[in-house]
């Protein structure tokens, strides 16, 4: 149904150009600077950069910073924390995606039913997504998961169990739980919207035919939901790859730290801008690889 005439095409290009221009600048300028910094030995606090990474007569840039070659990259990649961080990044994304798609579908099915006080329940289920990640992390860490005075500890003790020390023994689980709590509502919203567009007539026909509910679900509802699930997966992946607040607030960086957090450690704790820049570039490359995989797997579902 292409109605794009020559003139419309030209107009179209014009209309798109502001956003393309803006995003291009937003991407390219910091990216270029980051790439440049990643090849420098640049620590915010160093009195005099000691050019020991190369020979004594190493090249210096305009501000007397030592050019470091690829040393920043090699140090970042050989950091024992790197593979762990990358693994944690992928684990976090993977688990939260699974929980939010499955959980979101179930909740959406529930909310699609008729019952009393639907508006209230709906806002209660959506609320976690509306909370600031920092606030959410603080609340979970202090008031829910604290092993001595937290609410979960209380519940455990109530049934006679030993409270779990979440951040010591199950840090990854704790972080996944906190992040999933915030993103399941998002998935629920999108899946619910899609459910509500399911043809009434189809529903009635199925009922009149006496289709068992499970078949109805698998053969009619699920295919209809594939498209919004794809959307959920795509958007969530973008955000989940860069989860930061939960790990920062709970102090689980050592065991549940992901890639962005490692970059943060290099950049804002160690003040090693060169290293952090290299880490940032590596993270971008990895994220793009993940994106390519995603698109391969589910991209076809987005075709309109």
């Amino acid at each position: 149904m292409s109605m794009a005439t020559q003139q419309t095409r030209a107009l179209g290009k014009l209309a798109v150009s502001p956003s393309v221009f803006a995003l291009f600048m937003w991407m390219i300028v910091p990216l270029a600077m980051t790439i440049y910094f990643s090849f420098l030995r640049y620590n915010l606090l160093d009195p005099n950069p000691i050019c020991s990474l190369l020979s004594p007569d190493a090249l210096l840039d305009a501000e007397n910073r030592c050019l470091a070659g690829i040393t920043n990259y090699s140090y970042f990649l050989t950091d024992p924390a790197f593979f762990k961080a990358m693994g944690n990044s992928l684990k976090l994304v993977g688990w939260v995606l699974v929980i939010s798609v499955v959980g979101g579908t179930l909740l959406a099915l529930l909310l699609d039913q008729a019952f009393y006080g639907r508006g209230f329940v709906r806002i209660m289920m959506i609320a976690p997504f509306l909370v600031m990640p920092t606030v959410s992390a603080l609340v979970w860490k202090n008031m829910m998961m604290n092993p001595v005075s937290g609410f979960l500890a209380y519940l455990f003790k109530l049934v006679g169990l030993q409270p779990i020390d979440w951040f010591a023994h199950a840090p990854m689980t704790a972080v996944v739980l906190m992040v999933a709590w915030q993103w399941v509502p998002f998935a629920t919203l999108i899946l619910l919207t899609s459910l509500q567009s399911l043809d009434e007539e189809q529903k009635e026909a199925a009922e009149m035919d006496g289709t068992p509910p499970l078949s109805y679900f698998f053969y009619i509802v699920l295919p209809h939901l594939i498209r919004p699930m794809t959307v959920v997966i795509l958007i969530e992946t973008i955000f989940l790859l860069n989860i930061f607040a939960e790990i920062y607030v709970t102090g689980t960086a050592g065991r549940a730290g992901n890639l962005p957090f490692l970059v943060y450690q290099y950049g804002l704790i160690a003040n090693d801008i060169g290293g952090a820049s290299a880490g940032g570039i590596i993270a971008v490359i990895l994220a793009n690889i993940v994106a390519v995989f995603l698109m391969r797997m589910i991209g076809k579902n987005l075709d309109t």
């Binding site: 909370v131 600031m132 920092t134 008031m143 919207t193 790859l241 860069n242 940032g280 698109m295």
Partner: protein, 276 residues
């Protein structure tokens, strides 16, 4: 054509739904309750739900210590400002991609989404230096620009999928009537796309309100939003749970209220092209 559901079934579903809803909402509920307790009661076990000394002292302390209104106003301005400017750019772009697609439109869309792949902290110093050189540090304009650029890809994508559902013939008809692009966008497209635009708007407000990296890094006091307000309560010395709860409640309340009023809109608008 409503399907009639038996009352018995409705009641069962009601019970299940409320139980699950309360379970999910519980941490927030608990925070709000704790904000009315004294510090001692806040960490007391077993936890008390209703029968404790209700007090407003935490809100008083928080209000005294930090200027909540200033932070809230900044949050509001940042959220609304970035949303407005983002929509101004995003609507034409989404229009172009939906109604005048080229061969590269899909790739363009994917590229836009990929700009969100870099962990923000990797680009912190470059952006900081640019802001410093242009005098944008701690200005509302500066941070609005950043927030707008952060969320632009998602907005464009949402609008694009929504626009694609709109029958092209109506737009063609208006063009044949001699309407210019601007008029076409404003008077024909926008009214038809209100639900999609509204929920995109809401989503952006939520995302901008909760953005906690750039807002902390690029603002100091004039443009500092509620995310910085929370950062002053997160881990001081001494007991702080009740005060933190009060501060948290104050920080999330506006968005929760907005969500309550706009929930129908949110649910209706996030179709992503799944409406047949």
């Amino acid at each position: 054509m409503a399907r009639t559901v038996s009352t018995r079934r409705k009641l069962i579903v009601t019970a299940i739904a409320w139980a699950i809803g309360l379970l999910i909402f519980f941490p927030i509920l608990w925070t709000i309750l704790t904000s009315f307790k004294t510090e001692g009661e806040a960490i007391a076990l077993p936890p008390k739900f209703l029968f404790f000394d209700w007090t407003l002292e935490n809100y008083g302390v928080v209000q005294e210590r930090s200027d909540y209104l200033k932070f809230a106003m900044n949050s509001i301005m940042l959220a609304l400002g970035s949303t407005f400017f983002a929509l101004v750019i995003a609507i034409p772009s989404a229009w172009a991609m939906a109604f005048a697609p080229g061969r590269r439109t899909k790739d363009l869309l994917m590229w836009m989404l990929s700009t969100k792949m870099m962990p923000p902290v990797g680009a912190l110093l470059p952006i900081y230096l640019i802001f410093r050189d242009f005098g944008l540090l701690d200005t509302r304009g500066g941070i609005i620009t950043v927030l707008m650029l952060l969320n632009l890809p998602i907005l464009i994508w949402m609008l694009y999928t929504y626009f694609k559902e709109i029958p092209g013939e109506i737009l063609e008809a208006s063009r044949m009537d001699g309407a210019s692009l601007g008029k076409e966008l404003l008077y024909v497209l926008t009214p038809m796309a209100i639900p999609g635009i509204a929920s995109t708007l809401l989503l952006n407000i939520i995302l901008a309100w909760n953005e906690a990296f750039w807002t902390l890094a690029l603002t100091t006091k004039d443009a500092a939003p509620l995310t910085q307000f929370i950062a002053s309560y997160s881990s001081p010395e001494g007991l702080f749970w009740a005060k933190l709860s009060a501060a948290s409640t104050m920080a999330i309340a506006p968005i929760l209220v907005l969500g309550w009023f706009a929930q129908k809109q949110l649910v209706r608008g996030l179709t992503f092209g799944a409406v047949k």
